[in-house]
């Protein structure tokens, strides 16, 4: 079955086109839906929801916060029903911030639980666009099955520092880590390898089931070698490291 992806848009969403494109070449069917339209849609008509990058509502108050509240207070039941049906959700950059702030991630016990982790201003207090190396815990998420152990993707954000509420959460989160900022050799390292000061170098996490993924780096910006900064100096694979994430999602429904 060709899965249907709902790319959710709100005021200030801005990576929706390239995210939709990545899903399209991975073989999915795409529909972009503006948040106000959601009331009139059955989420269960879709198999994948993608929350893409951007600055929803200007990131006013805090990145992703207003959209997170909107989902939490206006569309909670629709999302719960969708999640229970063995479907997939991916939140990239701003989408990750939204998932964390409304409690869909990490969902230690259930969806929409009280927020226990957050993504806050980078240690540099600056927006930064740079390519990073990521260690992948590929068996923890549907999206990362069979991925290389170290991949490169770009980050571009001002509020990507992953923090946790307390030591207890810090213990619990370990098993949920899917992507970690590392140096070229795969070791944990400081700035600029860890571009924002995230604890444990956390760049992306999953829920308990492995069906919901949130990450700060942009896999949709590395689906072809031409997007990689070193394509004029090295022989690279035709497809970029990020494409696998979209392909895995589509494959999940090909039974």
């Amino acid at each position: 079955m060709k899965p249907k992806v709902l790319v959710l848009r709100a005021a200030g969403t801005n990576c929706d086109v390239e995210t939709a494109y990545a899903f399209k070449i991975a073989g999915a069917e795409i529909e972009s839906v503006y948040i106000d339209e959601l009331e009139h849609r059955q989420l269960t008509d879709y198999q994948i929801i993608a929350l893409s990058g951007g600055f929803t509502y200007g990131d006013d108050i805090a990145a992703g916060k207003i959209l997170a509240n909107e989902i939490k207070y206006k569309f909670r039941d629709k999302f719960l029903e969708f999640i229970e049906l063995d479907n997939l959700i991916i939140g990239i950059c701003n989408g990750f911030q939204v998932l964390v702030k409304c409690g869909i991630l990490p969902a230690f016990d259930e969806s929409f639980e009280a927020q226990s982790v957050s993504l806050i201003s980078n240690d540099s207090e600056r927006f930064e666009d740079r390519w990073v190396h990521l260690k992948v815990y590929s068996n923890r998420s549907i999206f990362t099955k069979g991925m290389k152990s170290i991949i490169t993707l770009p980050v571009a954000h001002a509020e990507g520092k992953f923090v946790v509420k307390d030591d207890d959460i810090l213990k619990q989160i370990q098993e949920h880590i899917v992507f970690q900022y590392v140096d070229k050799k795969g070791n944990e390292a400081g700035y600029p390898f860890n571009p924002n000061g995230s604890i444990l170098g956390v760049a992306g996490i999953t829920d308990q089931t492995g069906r919901i993924l949130g990450l700060m780096p942009h896999p949709e910006r590395h689906i072809s070698f031409l997007q990689h900064p070193n394509h004029t100096r090295e022989k690279l694979d035709e497809t970029g490291d990020g494409l696998r994430i979209f392909e895995n999602a589509v494959k999940y429904f090909e039974v």
Binding site: C15, E18, I66, R221, L226
Partner: protein
């Protein structure tokens, strides 16, 4: 009303601000804490305020909130200044099922230490807030509530002193122009209303009519009617390039891209607003040029932003800062944050640009913002039809930016009109863009334009030029009550566009905008009476003949004089040690790394970035041009680059123009572009053209543009001038900027996989220098470093230059060039250094065979001359023969090779000039600026 303040654990902001205070000389602060503040106005309970604070305003993981009065000092927006966060906060509170009347944001600073309060506040006003738009909280704050407006139409008696009427109303019209207006109204037998006079002033402003470039000039007994037509447009006409689809008449120029699409490009300046309020000025600058692209044809999709800045010296002594101006540090930070916050939120990559530092931009910085768009070829033509509705979409109208356009014709001074200062709302513009592109795709518009300088007056007036139009100003949605018809008509509130919509499609168009909550209001109708008629309710407040409005302007006579630069000699001993000179050059302000700026821009959003502004083994290398592929499913690309050099302009305006054209095209070619598939934009920034020598420089630059464009065969497709860039200080002394021409180049690349970058690729390859070096060091970084202010500016051999560029491209097409870098500021010395540390390989050079024009073949000149049309190429040894064939008859010489050992070693025969590890050169190059 409730005041909520939020504190964050381990907030780094306090420490960073403490460092800032220290850099401005306040170093006796122990610690600073920053709190975000929200004022919630309206009829809500304490419990509701608590709920808003805990569930919305506060991050439960790292933040705490408190409701109550402030300690310390607090920065708030001035009454009437739009708080761009208010809309989204109100929306978010509504999601909690609570309604409030107004929300205001602020920042609270708790400062501990033995500092002097007055000095602290004064220093804070230099970088923490801008008194033009913000203030330190008063004891009693009020929400801005202007009195409701009651219509009173003013008529103006033109029998008095015309100059003082123009001055008192802030019209910036000359006496001749005022006389023409008086004659028109005398003939009409009535006195003009204030709205009528304003409409004429806006339409006839320098900003809208380019009176210098289109007017009449006499220079040394020679008469020039319409400089633009005689130089820049003439070049385009003569070249008559088949790729030009729409040039000079729309909001941007359009060239051919592929079967379905064209690409359009426009660069604007926003200098005066950025001098006064850098953050808002630069943000609305980028916002404005994006609307130019949106408003091209029937709508183009923005795919790339460019930004080019000229600033004063960032380490200017803070104690010596003249009154009334902002410190360069303040301006630099504000401008970069402004472009970042607007461009990033729009989701348009900001990937191409330049920054130039010079003492003479202390008083008047330059901020150029550009935007490239993708437009369907069947959407390029447009015209409003009689009977179409005038639909205003986007942000509401307020008192922002009244007189921005006429203000552009005035020199800055401490008394400059300040109401032109605005802060943009990029998310509103993003929503306008998303909806507009949907409307454009459906093909249901007749015409479209952006609301920029001159507001509705310019936008509607221009669109209705050939039909006539009537508008009801009371229908324009306002931010607050109390605006007069005159204010509504000329307000430059941001994020607005004007559409001409056939009546049968009106409801569909409005529905699309409403689906994303963008205000869309029919405010009038295009007619067939060729008159501009404005109503406020039933009252006619303006009734003008379109013919007079658009063609009645008497074109002025201006006098120009060619600047005579007396030959000045300099005595320069030959240096004996070169390592230190090279390190000084690589760390000079105009040569060093721009990474600190580039990373703050999202230069990869939209996923089309192919050649990035930072490249190489550690992604720090400064690439000459950038390449994007605007259609993700195609490998066809767009390359963009620029050239600018005010130091040359100060000495020789003609050779500056040809040099910066050469530079822009060099950068384009070095990245994979082909000058036969390229076009250019010109942006003139000069001081007042009322000064004969300045106008002389303008004429000479324009002639340089003509000569170079024709020689290279690269047409101009659009351009803009910003004149009157000067500052009158409080002693009455006038400070001029150096003549500054920005050339932006755009080209089409058939296959982006063939692009080449500047970082060295492997050891054991040969390094070739293409082009001739000459002892023309006037305006060079080397001479600036030595304090030499004279000398010959580099010229361009216009017969040879296009041939060289074509052959570099030919070699690239054949895959023979491993890396390629153009030589500009800092000459050969800087260029080879950048290639080496960016690629992570050393270089060994022998400069003995460098082709040199002239008798003064000195080591320092060979290393640091900035002669035009030169490239460094990295070639695999086996390709030497093919390279020599391709460059037959052109100046090319092998000067060395790449090495595994990471050193830069430069010889001249047996004499060693430079021997430095790359790590040291790179560290100097990556110096901190702000």
């Amino acid at each position: 009303m409730f005041r909520v303040e939020i504190t964050r654990e381990n907030d780094p902001r306090g420490r960073l601000i403490k460092d800032d205070f220290a850099s401005f000389g306040v170093d006796d602060i122990e610690y600073i804490e920053v709190r975000d503040v929200y004022y919630l106005h309206g009829d809500i309970s304490k419990e509701q305020a608590e709920r808003i604070a805990s569930e919305l305003l506060c991050d439960p993981v790292v933040e705490q909130y408190r409701i109550g009065d402030p300690e310390g000092f607090e920065i708030l927006y001035n009454p009437g200044v739009t708080d761009s966060k208010e809309d989204s906060i109100k929306k978010a509170i509504a999601d909690l099922n609570i309604t409030i009347d107004a929300a205001k944001t602020g920042t609270n600073y708790i400062i501990k230490g033995r500092y002097d309060e007055a000095r602290l506040q004064q220093t804070a006003s230099l970088f923490l807030f801008n008194p033009l738009v913000q203030h330190i909280k008063h004891a009693k704050e009020e929400v801005y509530k202007p009195a409701p407006y009651k219509l009173s139409v003013h008529t103006i008696d033109l029998s008095g002193d015309l100059s003082s009427i123009s001055h008192d109303m802030g019209l910036f019209l000359s006496e001749i122009e005022m006389k023409q207006i008086r004659e028109y109204f005398n003939k009409d037998g009535k006195m003009p209303t204030d709205v009528e006079l304003e409409s004429i002033a806006q339409t006839w402003s320098e900003h809208c009519r380019h009176k210098t470039f289109l007017g009449r000039i006499t220079m040394n007994h020679e008469r020039i009617d319409n400089l633009l037509k005689n130089t820049i447009m003439r070049a385009t006409n003569e070249i008559s390039h088949p790729m030009c689809l729409s040039v000079f008449h729309d909001n941007s120029g359009v060239i051919d891209f592929d079967e379905e699409y064209g690409v359009c490009f426009k660069v604007e300046t926003h200098n005066h607003p950025s001098a006064l309020e850098p953050y808002g000025g630069a943000g609305t600058g980028i916002g404005g040029v994006i609307r130019d692209i949106l408003g091209t044809g029937l709508g183009a999709r923005p795919v790339l932003n460019t930004d080019i800045f000229c600033f004063g010296i960032p380490d200017f002594d803070f104690q010596k800062l003249p009154g009334g101006i902002l410190h360069p540090q303040t301006i630099i930070r504000g401008v970069i944050r402004g472009v970042r916050d607007y461009g990033n939120r729009m989701g348009i990559p900001t990937a191409s640009g330049a920054i130039y530092f010079d003492d003479d931009f202390l008083y008047n910085p330059l901020v150029y913002c550009g935007c490239v768009g993708l437009i369907r070829k069947d959407r390029i033509k447009k015209s409003a039809q009689s009977g179409d509705a005038v639909l205003l979409v986007g942000g509401r109208t307020g008192r922002d930016g009244i007189h921005g356009v006429t203000f552009a014709s005035a020199e800055l001074s401490e008394e400059s009109e300040k109401s032109c200062v605005q802060i943009g709302n990029p998310i509103m513009e993003k929503r306008v863009m998303d909806c507009l592109l949907r409307v454009s795709d459906e093909g249901i518009l007749s015409s479209l334009t952006d609301c920029g300088g001159g507001g509705l007056s310019s936008a509607v007036g221009e669109m209705g030029k050939s039909t006539g139009v009537k508008v009801w100003l009371d229908r324009v949605p306002l931010k607050y009550a109390g605006l007069s018809p005159r204010e509504i008509w000329i307000s430059e509130s941001q994020e607005r566009m004007v559409l001409a919509v056939p009546h049968e499609h009106l409801s569909r168009v409005i529905k699309i905008f409403q689906s994303e909550r963008v205000p869309a209001t029919a405010i009038g109708e295009f007619t067939n009476d060729k008159r501009l008629r404005l109503f406020y309710k039933d009252e006619l407040v303006c009734d003008l003949d379109m013919e007079f409005l658009h063609n009645g302007l008497p074109m002025p006579f201006k006098k120009a004089k060619i600047k005579v630069v007396p030959e000045q000699h300099y005595d320069l001993p030959k240096p004996i040690e070169f390592n230190s000179i090279l390190l000084a050059i690589v760390s000079s302000l105009n040569s060093c790394s721009r990474e600190w700026v580039i990373r703050e821009y999202d230069h990869e959003v939209q996923g089309g970035s192919v050649v990035k502004p930072l490249l190489g083994v550690d992604n720090i290398g400064p690439q000459d041009g950038v390449v994007i592929k605007p259609r993700l499913d195609k490998n066809r690309g767009v390359v963009v680059s620029c050239g600018i050099n005010p130091s040359y302009g100060r000495l020789d305006a003609y050779n500056m123009a040809v040099s910066v054209i050469d530079e822009a095209l060099r950068n384009l070619v070095a990245t994979g572009g082909d000058i036969r598939k390229a076009a250019m934009l010109d942006n003139f920034c000069f001081s007042s053209p009322e000064r004969e020598e300045i106008l002389g420089d303008i004429v000479m630059s324009a002639r340089g543009c003509y000569d170079a464009a024709v020689a290279f065969g690269v047409p101009f497709i659009s351009g803009k001038d910003s004149l009157y860039n000067e500052w009158v200080d409080n002693q009455g002394k006038v400070h001029l900027i150096p003549p500054t021409l920005l050339i932006s180049a755009i080209g089409i690349i058939d296959d982006v996989a063939k692009c080449v970058t500047m970082d060295l690729k492997a050891p054991g390859n040969d390094i070739y220098l293409v082009g001739e070096t000459a002892g023309e060091l006037g305006g060079s970084e080397y001479f600036r470093m030595l304090g030499i202010k004279v000398g010959q500016v580099p010229k361009v051999n216009l017969t040879q230059a296009p041939k060289i560029m074509n052959q570099v491209h030919a070699a690239m097409e054949k895959g023979l060039i491993q890396s390629c870098h153009d030589l500009s500021e800092g000459g050969l010395g800087l260029a080879i250094s950048e290639m080496a540390f960016s690629g992570g390989f050393g270089v060994k050079l022998d400069l003995q065979d460098v082709i040199y024009n002239g008798k003064d073949r000195r080591f320092d000149f060979v290393l640091f001359a900035e002669s035009n049309t030169r490239f460094l190429l990295e070639i695999e040894k086996g390709d030497a023969g093919k390279i020599n064939d391709i460059f037959q008859g052109l100046p090319i010489v092998k000067i060395g090779e790449t090495t595994e050992v990471k050193y830069l070693r430069v010889f001249f025969g047996k004499k060693k000039l430079i021997d430095l590890p790359l790590s040291i050169i790179q560290a100097k190059w990556q110096r901190k600026i702000v």
